[in-house]
Symmetry: C2
């Protein structure tokens, strides 16, 4: 009895973790073997999900008699849970917690797993994506990305909501069911399904190495629309609560909108704050002398941006994305070369293992979870509306954007973007959080099925699709011929000094790194003390930093001399590669004057 | 209400993890700053514990009204837990789980944290310690290490048990308390406190860089005695259950002894199995072409050795230690040079962060846990008995070992070993698992205090102590003059072909790596098929592996020519550096013939 208790305590964590590790190993080896045989169709996410499904099935078959029960018969579930030897944590029989917190309250250990998984692996994945991004390209496409992420996600949400509302009405008519979905429930589902997933999209893009502009558009959209989807979901929930009747309520609407702005700006600022801390720490201390400490501090501070944002109820994904972008722009210049390599490798491992873990877990939960509610009409409606909404999102917005863009988004890109609407971790996380208990199980099940469908079917078909659309693949994201031409193009437009340049080159770079003009020059007289405090203490002292800044500064001039002959081909690009400024809200429709961005982007390549 | 529930779900994990990350950051920066000012007295473990204490105090002060209550008034605790907003997991009011599983059942989330912490961070720490070990030195001192680990730990356990029994009798006499500690309870405490801790000892040793032999003795003992302590604890628990009266029971004793052997051999084999899998995988596939995959697979398989052992109820620490030792001996030869560097760096980061996390958590739980039971007599008895038992362990065993060793363990080493009996994570984990509810709180509290005492007082005093004893510090574990002499010494004794050499050089190396003589030569005729299957497919094909093996083979001959003049000083070493064989049970008392070990140890340096 007593020794059994000891044994049991050991097993609680070690066995599931061991199962997860074995799953990850099998996934890695299968994908690697399959790729050796030139099966370009497999992707990690899909294979991880497949093995997760197998594990979920096994667990369910083995522990079928001890399985959990759905809410409603809470007491029975409790009595069973006492005899269960898989879980030590049970819920109270009072049912308060269970009823208030939605469907997952009878499986606290699963919610806990999920939270651990997301807090552990999501930040490195997003950070890695942002950190290794080609910054020049991203800034050049920022306007379009923001348009897709903001307007596109809202369009998607509305479209899916409307479609689903129609389908649920049809469902009631045809099957004469009592249970009715309100419009708000449909909109909630729309919000959950509206966001494409950065994890799966990144996995797909890094596997296929598509054209850089297409990469930027898809990845940028998938990261930023997460914030929009999270906020939309929250806003709809809040709106429903403030306004149980289905009349339009301006106060609730305003409330939701203000909340939206707070989440976005708050997350952005949190990401920036952690970058500033890291940059100042690496600039003003001798941390770079110890690469292990440097790596640890950098890793922990970047992770903190996600954790602190989540702890405040903001969007951790948005915070860690901005943190990654700004770390790659500023902090990286202060690091030692060994620290830089270590950080990149550390995030690479986390990114790789995290992707496998998250998708494996999703597959596992799909078969392990016993309270699924399959509504055929709802599911088929969801399937259809996902495509319809994507079409309504991409084509009209691309048309509008092309009016402003000189470097038009070609039709084949639009087709692929319409096609590559993979859903994943973010939709899953939002579906878990649905609190409206009448529809939560239907929404959860349908969301999971949509994720499996998009990842398996669309993810697998991406490679043939690209070939059919004749979009070039296998592009090296760093060493690109076009990039050079692109740099010349921006160099030649270097006539107006925009706000972004001032902020970035004249204030942020000198303050956070050892590069750029001294702060004492760029800041007004009244900020003399401030300028002296933040001035680089290592100017003319440390050779490595000097070199780095010189490489950065010299890059454009070098390219100018080198690629004079290629400028003919760059003309179509040159006019279109305008710069957007996040701060003055220009949406990249070609109206903003071009601004120079010396040395941008190159930091990640060093 | 509903939005509050959403918020709450996010906070459950993000906020504590954020607090932990902040704690780790502050610890890293403090230790680093303090070390810059030449405060040699600080060690990471102590500082992490200090900040953990501060956090625990803060949490306790803030949530004091919502705090948990000790078992006994279970229903009250339950009602409070419902209103608590820190934890989502509650226990059932039936009290079954609570009473059966000991003190921590009213804090399932804490036990869960603890398990996650140990499963996540303990394996990389021990693995890193074993992987970066100087294998030659370790093998040379193996006999003494095993003596200290086995005989020493049993002596310690008995000593502490006897001392504590005396003190508890005194306690009953003086304070006229009713509660009585049985002898088995005292022995249980003895078993918990008997093992020195690999994490804190490693932290101390790598900070101070003491003499290599002393390093081997202390680290080897601390890793192996963990297994002994775990098994002793389990055996005493089992014995108590089988034999509630305090009469000697041969059946229960035999049962405990068999269990001891099973745990030790099982853990050893599990560690070896995972090494064999990793080695064969890296030998026969082209995994080395992708360093990221290589690193991931290596990391996951090494981690699996710990997890699988824990899941089977064996000792994960022993398994992962043997896995680390054998991975460094065989698998490392199959890896690409980039993979090798990445793996080392990855484990370094985990080791660094893991140590801080575990000790920070121990400090936190000391002040956060509300059910402490301070027994002044018990605590002072423990304090005294820890020193007494250590003296009874080190001095007599060293005397006996010195009879057999030609390279005697000097008195100053003995003093330092007696002094450096740091307790830590393993004792803590064992104390958490104590199931005898009458004494569990006293044992838990006393164990935690002993850990704090040994780490703060003994850990801080280690540096002055070393100086006073005139033991040299700042030794580089890899590039050591003595090592070369040592290699010559073993080379010159290369006359008999022992069992270990045959097994290692003739069978294991050719089977698991690309080095050594072909299996077709060393294996008998009847195993022809087996030999052909495991023969290296890349012989004369891959340059890198060839080079590696050549470097290994050439090392000794190079050294021979180089250090001819230094052999005068090596004479005292040469005779004593005998080899022990784990398999034939020689305890290193100088009776085993010397065996050659070509190329051993150098693998970690490449």
């Amino acid at each position: 009895m007593m020794s059994a208790a000891v044994q049991q305590k050991q097993d609680t964590v070690a066995l599931p973790v061991f199962a997860a590790v074995t799953l990850a190993l099998i996934t890695i080896l299968s994908v690697w073997k399959l790729k050796q045989f030139k099966y370009k169709l497999v992707n990690e996410a899909g294979v991880a999900m497949f093995y997760g499904l197998l594990l979920g099935l096994t667990v369910r078959l083995i522990w079928t008699d001890k399985g959990e029960q759905c809410p409603g018969n809470t007491t029975a579930a409790n009595e069973q849970a006492n005899t269960s030897n898989i879980t030590m944590v049970n819920i109270t029989p009072h049912g308060h917690v269970g009823n208030e917190k939605g469907q997952f309250s009878s499986h606290p250990e699963e919610t806990f797993d999920l939270q651990v998984l997301f807090n552990l692996f999501l930040p490195p994945i997003i950070f890695h994506g942002a950190y290794t991004l080609n910054q020049k390209r991203f800034l050049a496409n920022l306007g379009s990305v923001l348009t897709y992420a903001f307007a596109g996600t809202i369009i998607s949400c509305m479209c899916i909501g409307a479609c689903m509302y129609g389908f649920t009405k049809l469902m009631v008519l045809l099957s004469e069911q009592k249970e009715e979905f309100f419009l708000t429930h449909c909109l909630l589902f729309g919000a959950i399904m509206s966001a494409t997933d950065p994890v799966s999209v990144l996995g797909l893009l890094s596997d296929l190495r598509v054209d850089l502009d297409l990469h930027m558009l898809l990845f940028g959209e998938s990261v930023l629309n997460d914030a929009v989807a999270i906020v939309l979901t929250h806003a709809i929930t809040t709106y429903t609560q403030m306004n149980a009747e289905l009349i339009f309520n301006p106060t609730a609407f305003l409330h939701a909108f203000v909340f939206f702005l707070i989440v976005l700006i708050g997350s952005f600022l949190l990401g920036l704050i952690f970058t500033v801390i890291t940059a100042l720490l690496t600039k003003f201390t001798r941390l770079h002398e110890n690469p292990l400490l440097e790596t640890s501090v950098f890793f922990l501070l970047s992770w903190s941006s996600y954790l602190s944002a989540e702890a405040c109820g903001l969007s951790g994904i948005v915070a860690v994305m901005f943190c990654g972008l700004s770390q790659a722009r500023y902090t990286v210049l202060n690091l030692s070369s060994e620290g830089r390599a270590r950080i990149k490798q550390l995030f690479e491992v986390f990114n790789f293992l995290g992707e496998i873990s998250i998708f494996g877990y999703m597959g596992y939960i799909l078969l392990k979870f016993t309270c699924h509610k399959f509504e055929p009409y709802f599911i088929s409606g969801a399937l259809l509306s996902v495509f319809i909404s994507r079409a309504f999102n991409i084509y009209p917005l691309s048309f509008l954007l092309n009016l402003g863009r000189t470097n038009k988004i070609p039709c084949k890109f639009q087709h692929f973007m319409m096609f590559a609407g993979l859903r994943g971790a973010v939709a899953f996380r939002l579906a878990v959080k649905v609190t409206a208990k009448e529809v939560s199980h239907t929404i959860f099940t349908t969301t999971l099925l949509m994720i499996v469908f998009t990842i398996w079917v669309l993810g697998t078909a991406a490679d043939p699709m690209l070939r059919r659309l004749d979009i070039r693949v296998g592009v090296d994201p760093d060493e690109n011929q076009e990039d050079r031409i692109f740099e010349i193009a921006t160099e030649r437009l270097d006539t107006t000094q925009g706000l972004w340049h001032s902020l970035d080159y004249k204030y942020l770079k000198p303050m956070l790194t050892h590069c750029g003009p001294p702060l004492t020059e760029s800041l007004p007289q009244c900020c003399g003390v401030f300028a002296r405090v933040f001035s680089s203490p290592r100017v003319q002292e440390d050779d490595e930093e000097e070199e780095l800044c010189e490489i950065e500064a010299g890059k454009n001039t070098l390219d100018l001399g080198e690629t004079e002959s290629q400028q003919g081909s760059s003309e179509s690009d040159s006019a279109s590669e305008h710069q957007e400024d996040l701060l003055d809200g220009d949406l990249g429709l070609g109206t903003a004057p071009a601004q120079p961005r010396e040395a941008s982007g190159s930091s990640t390549q060093l």
